[in-house]
């Protein structure tokens, strides 16, 4: 009797083993669906889980994907060095393709399913609203890393929104116009150009006002619709207004094509535009001495020690982007690392928000000074600007203005 | 259930109009029947039914119809047919139906024979059949047309519409009907049913009121469920036939069965589908037709479905065989087959809720019965005659009886097999409720009814396993030149079991071997042809197609396999045209029974071609014309 029983048990065991190995392949396929649909309870949290919704792909990805890749590569380095407070950081990236609806879904999924402790947005400003809405509902801090900083991060800041991005519509205009005033050295007839999207229009309207306060004469403002086959008609109007300076704060394509159209129409004034990720490349392509870019991130040309680190990191991570594109993401990585370091284990969204509300991050020279967040200021207390242009004589990119600080305490 | 004899006696003292009036008084608001009109099933309660009949009676009376006069009704089964019929009965007239498929000559014969004063036509088609003779028939006073939608160009002094007739009646109610009913002598003739003999002119059997009710009651006693539960049935058999009248008129009066009339006979499949009858009385032809359509449909279905059907059939065959043998059947397995395959299959026909399916009027091939039983339909056979006045002589009963016999007699009825030398085995019936006599034909009456109270049926029977088996019509035996006496109907039924065969007639009387004339089932064969890309242009063209010939070769070989050598069909011919009872001189009765002699005469060339007469001619020449040829 006993003998038979053991035999039977053995057979059963063999049988279960067999079925197990057979179903294994199916299981691996089935588990993700089940998890996706039923939201299987997240595994016991063993890491700082960070959720990113970014324009990783799609028409505008060129301006955002490098930031996320670079930030991820930096966090990978952090994890290799032993993580933060002894725990690894897990970054979950959702691609929103710059679509608001997708961003909303991402946020829901990241908060509800992945139980992230902080949300990161690196995408077009149109994706902000849905993510802000979700972050508010769930009380999870939202960190803008790479997109434009929304007004809610300026003082008095929203408790949950933070921003480390280089640009900010109003401060940028002020810095740019100050530069123009100091460089022009005479009366300035200024023209403005930008893409006809709400964000840019708000920025430029601020610049128009600020120009007046600096005593400049605004001769014209020109908005071009996002897809435009020919910029010449728009440039013609600017040219006919006869400015000696033009300031453009827009997506790169709009800035550079307005400039090129102006040049082709025979305009020979100076043109200042915002230094996007690809600014360094583009300066070298355009090679125009009166084409200036203003920005807050150091250029590779500045050749800081940290640049070597970035290069090494890019090499290790096998990033496809030119190294000059990676600065912004590296900064975001530094900020994230600092914020999580101040968050004790086990982490909660609340702890992260608290940590971020009182943060000072050394940016290793990538910006003019440290990034500092306070209870009421989630942008930074001081913003530093540099200006570059292509020097035809030297046949190289040359810095024309070193870090100039503008306080952002208002 | 009360004593049979008692109930019979009670009914003998009544008549249908009276019974209707009583029913209308007892349950005025229950549904008596439903008739489809412009897509809707119009429900008629017993009260409405009785009132309509009362209207009809008064309308007919206003047309001058008197007690004892005859009225003829021609048309497919429909609501108005019954209203006319019962209305006429209520005024004491004798009604008779004429087969909707009858030829003009037959119509004329029956009109003269019956001497109807009023001819009721269902629609313009039947008016056309009577109009040419309308002025030559001395007795005919009125022609009433039910559906006058195509009558706009008709202008004849004798024409009336049924609607006018009802209108003129206004105000008649249940009480009037009851009064009329009470004034009728239950022993007087209620209606005549013309029997479509396979030889000679049809004879009209006169059936009295009470007799009919008492006779039909034996069906209610035999099929108990009719009185136990409410049932839906479909009335579509010709009402001029006693069986059709039973189903549409008499049995509903005596039981809880509710008949449904379709919009037209052509829509029968749809009527069945929509009403899903729980009880269906039918004639074998329909069952065979439906079954063959199903088989053709299954043959052309997708492989997976076909495999499922085949599997279910295997289970089903074992199941019914076990049922017949009284063994425990493969119940769970069969239930699975039934719910996954057979029920959906029957559902397409509207037959999935059937509790009782009874075929009568002609022999049903056992294979066909078996097939329906496998599909889960409680199919069985009954045996009756016009002369039994609406009663059945025998009928199978119970749950899935084994096919092959026509069952046992209902309570109060007796049968025995004749032991006379001349017609040994002839079935004789005795009951108090037999027909009165043939209309104007006392000789024939005497010959059938006999003097000992036992009525001759003309059918040869035998007892098998406690049930009656019909062997053949008395004079229909084939004696081959080899002296073998064979029953052609057995062989014909085997042939008819094929879905592709509509009609088969075996020949061989005085011949060395048996041959057959076969009419193909046009629908089934044309479906088959289409599925095999066999092109054809007409019936004749299809019948002559070599591939069709090959198909039937196989079917005949299949039947032969079940026969003894002498019984086998040596060769056969396919009829080049469809048999049409409506055509003058066709060798087929309105009920599609084959008239043998006429058939052989009509297709003489085909028959001759099947027999090599050289040998006989040689022998005849050798012997000289000593005997003389019949």
């Amino acid at each position: 009797m006993i003998k038979r029983k053991t035999k039977w048990a053995l057979a059963m065991r063999r049988l279960t083993k067999l079925t197990l190995t057979k179903t294994k392949t199916k299981l691996t396929l089935a588990v993700p669906i089940a998890a996706a649909l039923c939201g299987a309870p997240a595994l016991a949290q063993d890491a700082y889980v960070v959720g990113v919704s970014a324009a990783m792909t799609g028409p505008v990805a060129g301006g955002y994907a490098p930031i996320v890749e670079s930030m991820k590569a930096y966090i990978d380095l952090v994890n290799e060095r032993g993580g933060i407070n002894g725990k690894p950081v897990r970054i979950i990236v959702q691609d929103n393709g710059a679509q608001p609806s997708k961003a909303a879904t991402d946020a829901k999924k990241l908060i509800g399913q992945d139980k992230v402790i902080v949300l990161i947005n690196t995408s077009l400003s149109s994706t902000y609203a849905p993510m802000v809405a979700e972050s508010k509902r769930a009380g999870v801090p939202l960190f803008f890393a790479g997109g434009v900083c929304p007004p809610a991060t300026y003082p008095p800041a929203d408790a949950l929104q933070f921003c480390s991005t280089a640009y900010s519509a109003n401060l940028d205009s002020e810095a740019a116009l100050s530069f123009i005033k100091s460089t022009a050295g005479g009366p300035v007839r200024i023209g403005f150009a930008g893409m006809a999207i709400p964000l840019v229009r708000t920025g430029i309207e601020h610049a128009e006002k600020f120009a007046g306060s600096l005593g400049m004469k605004t001769v014209g403002t020109q908005y071009t619709p996002p897809p435009t086959p020919d910029y010449t008609p728009f440039a013609t109007k600017i040219k006919d207004a006869d400015p000696n300076w033009v300031f453009s704060w827009s997506p790169w394509v709009s800035q550079v094509r307005t400039f090129e159209a102006l040049r082709r129409l025979g305009w020979d004034g100076s043109y200042l535009s915002w230094a996007h990720l690809n600014a360094e490349e583009e300066l070298a392509r355009i090679k125009d001495g009166k084409f200036y870019v203003i920005g807050t991130n150091a250029f590779l040309e500045d050749n800081l020690p940290v640049h070597a680190e970035i290069r090494a990191m890019a090499h290790r991570a096998g990033l496809k982007y030119p190294t000059s594109y990676l600065t912004e993401g590296y900064v975001a990585g530094l900020v994230l690392e600092a914020a999580l370091k101040k968050t004790s284990w086990p982490p909660t969204p609340k702890k992260v928000a608290a940590a971020m509300s009182n943060l000072k991050v050394d940016l290793k020279g990538l910006r003019g000074g440290p990034l500092e967040w306070t209870k009421t200021n989630h942008f930074r207390t001081a913003q530093y600007y540099r200006v570059w242009h292509w020097d035809p004589a030297k046949s190289a990119i040359v810095r024309v203005q070193d870090w100039k600080v503008i306080g952002a305490k208002r | 259930m009360r004593e049979a004899a008692e109930w019979y006696a009670e009914l003998r003292g009544k008549n249908a109009p009276l019974l209707l009036a009583e029913r209308a008084r007892h349950e005025p608001d229950s549904v008596a029947y439903r008739a489809k009109h412009l897509g809707l099933y119009r429900e008629r309660t017993w009260r409405e039914y009785a009132e309509l009949v009362a209207h009809s009676a008064r309308g007919l009376a206003e047309l001058g119809l008197e007690r004892g006069e005859r009225i003829a009704i021609m048309g497919d089964a429909c609501e108005e047919w019954i209203l006319c019929d019962l209305g006429a009965q209520a005024v004491g007239a004798i009604t008779y139906g004429i087969y909707p498929t009858a030829s003009a000559a037959e119509v004329e014969y029956q009109m003269r024979d019956g001497g109807a004063a009023i001819f009721v036509a269902e629609n313009q088609e039947y008016v056309d059949k009577i109009l040419p003779y309308a002025d030559e028939l001395p007795a005919l006073r009125w022609i009433v047309v039910i559906d006058d939608s195509a009558m706009f160009a008709y202008d004849h002094p004798k024409l009336r519409t049924f609607a006018q007739l009802l209108e003129s009646a206004g105000g008649a109610g249940v009480a009037d009907l009851e009064q009329l009913g009470r004034s009728i002598d239950p022993a007087s003739g209620a209606f005549i049913v013309y029997t479509s003999g396979t030889s000679g002119h049809p004879k009209g059997a006169l059936i009295p009121h009470g007799t009919h009710l008492a006779a039909a009651a034996n069906m209610v006693l035999h099929y108990e469920t009719l009185a136990e539960r409410a049932h839906r049935t479909v009335a579509y058999l010709p009402l001029c036939h006693i069986f059709g009248r039973d189903i549409a008129v008499t049995l509903p009066l005596l039981s809880k069965m509710v008949p449904h009339f379709g919009e037209s006979l052509e829509d029968l499949p749809q009527t069945l589908f929509e009403t899903a009858p729980t009880v269906l009385f039918t004639v074998p032809r329909y069952l065979q037709k439906f079954a063959s359509q199903v088989l053709v449909g299954i043959a052309g279905t997708s492989p997976l479905k076909h495999a499922a059907y085949e599997l279910a059939m295997r289970i089903g065959r074992r199941h019914v065989r076990a049922l017949w043998e009284g063994r425990s059947a493969l119940a769970p397995l069969y239930a699975l087959a039934r719910y996954t395959v057979f029920r959906p299959l029957l559902n397409k026909l509207g037959l999935d809720e059937l509790e009782l399916l009874v075929a009568g009027g002609a022999p049903l091939p056992p294979d066909t019965t078996a097939l329906w039983q496998i599909w889960g339909v409680n199919a069985m056979e009954l045996y009756g005659q016009t002369e039994t006045a609406g009663a059945i002589i025998t009928g199978q009963r119970g749950w899935f009886p084994r096919p092959g016999n026509v069952g046992t007699t209902p309570p109060g009825w007796e049968i025995r097999l004749s032991e006379d030398e001349a017609n040994r085995g002839e079935i004789l019936v005795r009951s108090a409720d037999l027909f009165d006599g043939y209309w104007g034909n006392p000789e024939a009456t005497r010959e059938t009814k006999g003097e000992d109270g036992w009525m001759r049926t003309g059918d040869i029977g035998a007892w098998v396993d406690g049930g009656l088996r019909l062997v053949d019509r008395a004079r229909d035996f084939i004696v081959t030149s080899g002296g073998k006496s064979l029953s052609p109907s057995y062989i014909e039924n085997l042939l008819r079991a094929s879905p592709y065969v509509a009609e088969a007639m075996v020949i061989g009387h005085g011949m060395k071997y048996l041959t057959a004339l076969i009419e193909i089932d046009f629908d089934a064969v044309s479906d088959w042809a289409r599925s095999r890309n066999v092109s054809y242009t007409s019936f004749t063209n299809l019948a002559q197609n070599p591939e069709v010939r090959a198909l039937l070769d196989k079917e005949v070989a299949r039947a032969n396999a079940e026969l003894a050598r002498v019984e086998q069909i040596k060769t056969f011919r396919i009829l080049p045209k469809a048999l049409d009872p409506e055509e003058e001189g066709e060798p087929v009765t309105p009920t599609r029974k084959v008239k043998r002699a006429l058939m052989i005469e009509r297709f003489r060339e085909l028959v001759d071609a099947m027999y090599d007469h050289r040998e006989e001619q040689l022998l005849a020449a050798g012997a000289g014309d000593v005997i003389g040829r019949e």
């Binding site: 028409p59 060129g62 996002p226 086959p229 020919d230 008609p233 109007k237 159209a261 | -």
Partner: protein, 290 residues
Amino acid sequence: MQLAVNIAVLASIYALISCGYVLIYRVSRVLSLAHGELMMLGAYGLYATASLFSGQPLVAVAAALALSLLVGVLVYVALMWRMTGESVLAAVLATIALGILLRGAMILMFGTQTRHPLEELGWTNASIEVGDDARISGVGLALVLATTVCYGLLFAFLRMTRWGIRMRAAGQNPLLAAQRGIGLHVIYALAWGLATLTGGLAGMLIASDAGLESTMVVIGLKAFPAALVGGLDSLAGALLGSLVIATAEVLMVYYVDPLLSDVVPFFILLAMLVVRPWGFFGSREELDRV
């Protein structure tokens, strides 16, 4: 003066794009909403051939044009051929779907970075003076010339060559044309080929002027009102329509509000649809056939 030059350049762009709409619509009664994508494909084709045949810019341009023609024919053979007989909506939707597919495929292949095919070819976009106070870019001039040449050739082709006449015949009465032995599928394929060729050329020139990135497709849609205002089945109409739209746009930018330049073409289109739905030169009875 500069305004006139601007109008000429913009009108040329619209005209060069919209003649593709007209060609396809005229022959097969289908509106191709994949035209913007096919245009962009032409531009990427140039970028690809430019890097392939570096140093031989003319060869690269010729190869890119041939490629465009081939793509157009392929689109018909692989997809639109199957849509014959389907409803107009289905056919239009098929082109939309094709557009989506192509756009995705192009992003897959070329990424989202801005490309500069002109530099790849080794040419620069010089600025040329016109008259006293106006200038035109080299590419702009090329655009005007290309449009002129294209329309000239197309007019000549449709009026004088055997295939051109067949094409018109197929457009006017496909049934009769087929009965006269004209191979409709060949004609349709040819129409798609030519339409993609002109569209591709437009794409190449625009990309040379402005760089190439995946947002270019929208420009295809902007030329759409031009084709419709002129009359969807008339080349002359497309020319006139482009001129009207371009003039309205340029004047709007200069004198009123640049923000309106995106909407104005559609206002003109709506006005046209209300007043004269078949456009300037379109045939009136066509309306019922769609």
